[in-house]
Symmetry: C2
Subunit: 150 residues, 2 copies
DNA sequence: TTATTAATGAAAATGGTTTTCATTATCATA
DNA sequence: TATGATAATGAAAACCATTTTCATTAATAA
């Protein structure tokens, strides 16, 4: 684990207390490009932080999500997956292979997409009086490898 | 339950045998505009078909989904929800209230959206050698009622 | 009508996630 | 820099949607 409490300042106001497990979980998510499950995070941290509990991982992920620092996704495979959400990180969506579960981030046509999304959100706000906070776009199909071994 | 086996013809080729539970489940999904869970379907059918088992509901939903007659959604609330998928039914997506879970179907800007989706799918096929079979767009936010009682 | 075997339903198992509760550790205050 | 209030933790149990098992039932081809 890196120097303790590197994230404390970035996180101020969101939490009563900043602790080692919280630091470790957030730090791991900022360092990976993968979309990890709670169990994967737990397994990964267990090496550096033998005392950590899976319960704490779930609780911390919940808190981090509620404070907007990470995003939670369910790609229809039974478990939730998490990724770090930064203002700096480019807006992106996901390609999901329905065979092997591989997830690819893409951000192509982000401008056109954002334009349509904004327009739609505005329209929906008027038509349904629905306030849009977030949106999600995903494509399902087969990745290159799974096409071959089909 | 309506006349038995009304759906048999529409379903030919997808199943070895067409049975009462299958008829009842598919029929229910074609008659509702809601996005039902397995348990909701089970509870609803129990009145008309007292012998039915929840296991059969799950198994049938699985088969119906695999044969493309229904679609499965996970709106991040722990259970899957199902809706009838017909060629006649207009292409639509969902607004999900993050507070009460209400789901609204919308199909505004369907043409523009489909255009962008097609273009993106084609681009992704080239760039990532990924074959797109399906896509999903959803907006998360607050419905009118939940804005008031916020 | 019968035989084959797919489909069913009850009960048990599974697996991701949440809750409970006694213990530990953070941090504001002295 | 102690200290005390209480937030956070971890282990175990509970929860809950879904899947599996297996003996029984029922659909369909012959």
């Amino acid at each position: 684990m890196p120097g303790p409490y590197r994230w404390r300042k970035r996180v101020e106001g969101h939490f009563c207390r900043w602790t080692m497990p919280r630091e470790a979980i957030l730090d791991l998510l900022t360092r990976t490009s993968q979309h990890l499950t709670a169990k994967e995070i737990y397994a990964s941290l267990l090496q550096l932080y033998p005392g950590i509990g899976l319960t704490t991982v779930y609780r911390t992920l919940d808190l981090l999500e509620k404070s907007g620092l990470i995003k939670k996704f369910n790609f229809g495979r039974g478990e939730n997956r998490y990724e770090f959400a930064s203002e700096n990180k480019p807006h992106h969506h996901h390609l999901i292979c329905t065979k092997c579960g591989q997830i690819i981030d893409y951000s192509d046509f982000a401008n056109e997409e954002l334009e349509l999304v904004k327009k739609t959100a505005k329209h929906l706000a008027e038509k349904y009086k629905f306030i849009v906070h977030d949106h999600n776009i995903e494509f399902y199909g087969l990745c290159q490898q799974c096409q071959k071994r089909q």
